[in-house]
């Protein structure tokens, strides 16, 4: 087996195991740490594909941003002795069935998609091109979605400040 394949199976195995652990753990901070492992292994997959930009985005946004926020809010709200109770049987059943159906649809669509192996050499991910496309208004330009998202984020930030300031 090639080293690439070994790494792929290692990383996918980590993702699978820790995804299951993060939803079955009864301790909330441990669940957050398992989620962190899943996100790190995903960025490892991007590194394996030589798509370093996406890997670093995954590390900054998910591992360094969102997980830190999750852990921070757990630190402020939950005590170490707190453990979640077992969920009701009906919830487990409904959740399990939904998960299995979603999994089935995803696997089916992946297997049905006609992947054609390419013989062309891998292209270098050029940061300048990504930047040009992000700010481009013409063909293949992402200027409008970029600006819309920034307006959305601004609105979210202002509303967060208003909620935090409530009472004064």
């Amino acid at each position: 087996m090639e080293l690439n394949q070994v790494m792929f199976f290692l990383l996918s195995g980590l993702i699978l195991i820790f995804s299951v652990l993060s939803i079955t753990s009864r301790r909330i901070l441990r669940a957050a740490v398992y989620l962190l492992t899943v996100l790190l292994a995903t960025s490892g997959l991007y590194f394996l594909l030589n798509y370093e930009f996406m890997a670093a985005v995954q590390l900054t946004l998910y591992a360094g941003g969102i997980v830190v926020l999750i852990i921070f809010s757990i630190l402020l709200t939950s005590h170490i002795s707190h453990k979640f109770e077992q969920p009701a049987i009906a919830n487990v059943l409904v959740g399990g069935i939904t998960g299995l159906v979603g999994c089935g649809v995803a696997i089916w669509s992946i297997l049905e998609f006609p992947f054609t192996p390419t013989t062309q050499p891998a292209l270098d991910v050029n940061m300048q091109q990504i930047g040009m496309h992000l700010m481009n208004t013409g063909h293949l330009g992402y200027a409008l979605p970029f600006e819309v998202i920034s307006v959305l984020l601004l609105a979210a930030m202002i509303s967060a400040i208003i909620i935090a300031k409530k009472g004064n």
Binding site: E2, L29, R30, V57, T60, A63, G64, V68, I71
Partner: protein, 363 residues
């Protein structure tokens, strides 16, 4: 310019070819990984030990004392003795702690700093991995260490640790912004995020000289923000000993405490190395365009002397900060970042974009 006298590319290529000719490519990569790992672990240990000694000596100099002076000549082996003591100390187990997370936390802190060190260029060709998004990668992995600090604070089940961890989290999350934006200024100047590319772009002068006023502003902001991001004094209120005993690592003992301690010093080394690489030219010798004679003389000084010289200079400045300024309060700390550094930084970025657009810098 003539860099060929100290080019390590042929040396690393030679090792690679020798390994590939004697075994299968898969094994060759594994052996290379092990070699690089051992080199970095040894490097890590030596740098960590001697930074602790340097800190104590600098502190002693500033406070008009002698500092460590008993073990070895002028106290050279003091930190090695300290390390042996730490290795032999008992590891205290806490009954009501979350043991899994408690034991995991020091490793997360260490691994985060280990990931960052892989991307640093020590000389031409002496570079573990040259990612085309080098700066962004450093920024990404440096944000992982705080997770270890938060986990250690919570899982110790102690009020001091928890308060220390929350302070540290608030501090790192805020100052990360300024660090990122300050690095972005040099990315705008050089037009690349690849660290080797940034160093090459400084062959005719370092960015702090070529980029004049805005680059100096960025450098100063980077120094302040990275001192805060590594939890060092005067921003060390996460482990303010007068109020929190030792902050997030209060409950740790022996080698687990040593991990936090070592990671703190290595993080200082890493941010100093980033500052040296991005603003002060990294391993690039001091060149002035047109003065060929002086440039050739400068080329004879080996690149790792340039790299470590600049890094040590930045480290000494950071130590000087720590032993000169009093510790900030948490509200002062957050005011400094959100009301001063961040607006200045954003205006500086706009200014730099304008300067680059008009070409008002030394090309």
């Amino acid at each position: 310019m003539n860099f060929s006298i100290y080019d390590f590319t042929s040396f690393t290529k030679w090792i690679d070819n020798a390994l590939n000719s004697s075994m299968s490519p898969g094994w060759a990569i594994l052996v290379e990984l092990v070699i690089i790992g051992i080199v970095f672990i040894a490097f890590y240990a030596v740098i960590g030990l001697y930074l602790v000694l340097a800190e104590r000596k600098v502190c002693a100099l500033i406070q008009n004392r002698l500092g460590p002076n008993r073990v070895g000549p002028i106290g050279m082996f003091q930190t090695i003795a300290d390390l042996i003591k730490l290795l032999m100390k008992e590891l205290i187990e806490i009954k009501h702690a979350d043991k899994f997370l408690f034991n995991l936390a020091p490793f997360i802190v260490i691994i985060a700093s280990f990931m960052a060190i892989a991307a640093l260029p020590f000389a031409k060709g002496l570079h573990a991995i040259d990612l085309n998004i080098g700066i962004f990668y450093l920024f990404a992995v440096s944000s992982l260490g705080v997770i270890g600090i938060l986990l250690s604070g919570w899982s110790s089940n102690s009020k001091y640790s928890l308060i220390g961890a929350i302070r540290s989290g608030a501090q790192v999350v805020s100052y990360e912004l300024s660090v990122g934006l300050a690095l972005l200024s040099v990315v705008i100047f050089s037009g690349t995020m690849q660290l080797s590319g940034i160093v090459e772009s400084q062959a005719n002068g370092w960015w702090i000289i070529k980029g004049h006023i805005p680059a100096i502003i960025s450098f100063l902001i980077f120094l302040v923000a990275s001192t805060a991001e590594t939890n060092r004094g005067p921003f060390d209120l996460a482990e303010a000993e007068s109020e929190l005993t030792a902050g997030f690592h209060t409950e740790y003992s022996g080698i687990k405490f040593a991990f936090f301690f070592l990671a703190e010093y290595m993080n200082m080394f890493i941010v100093a190395a980033i500052a040296a690489t991005v603003f002060l030219g990294g391993w690039m010798p001091f060149h002035i365009q047109g003065w060929e004679g002086m440039n050739n003389v400068m080329d004879y000084i080996p690149p790792f002397i340039w790299f470590f010289g600049k890094t040590i200079f930045v480290i000494l400045v950071m130590m000087w900060f720590k032993w000169t300024f009093p510790r900030l309060r948490i509200d002062q700390l957050l005011t400094l970042e959100w009301k001063y550094l961040l607006p200045i930084n954003l205006m500086n970025i706009v200014l730099i974009a304008f300067i680059v657009l008009m070409g008002w810098y030394i090309k």
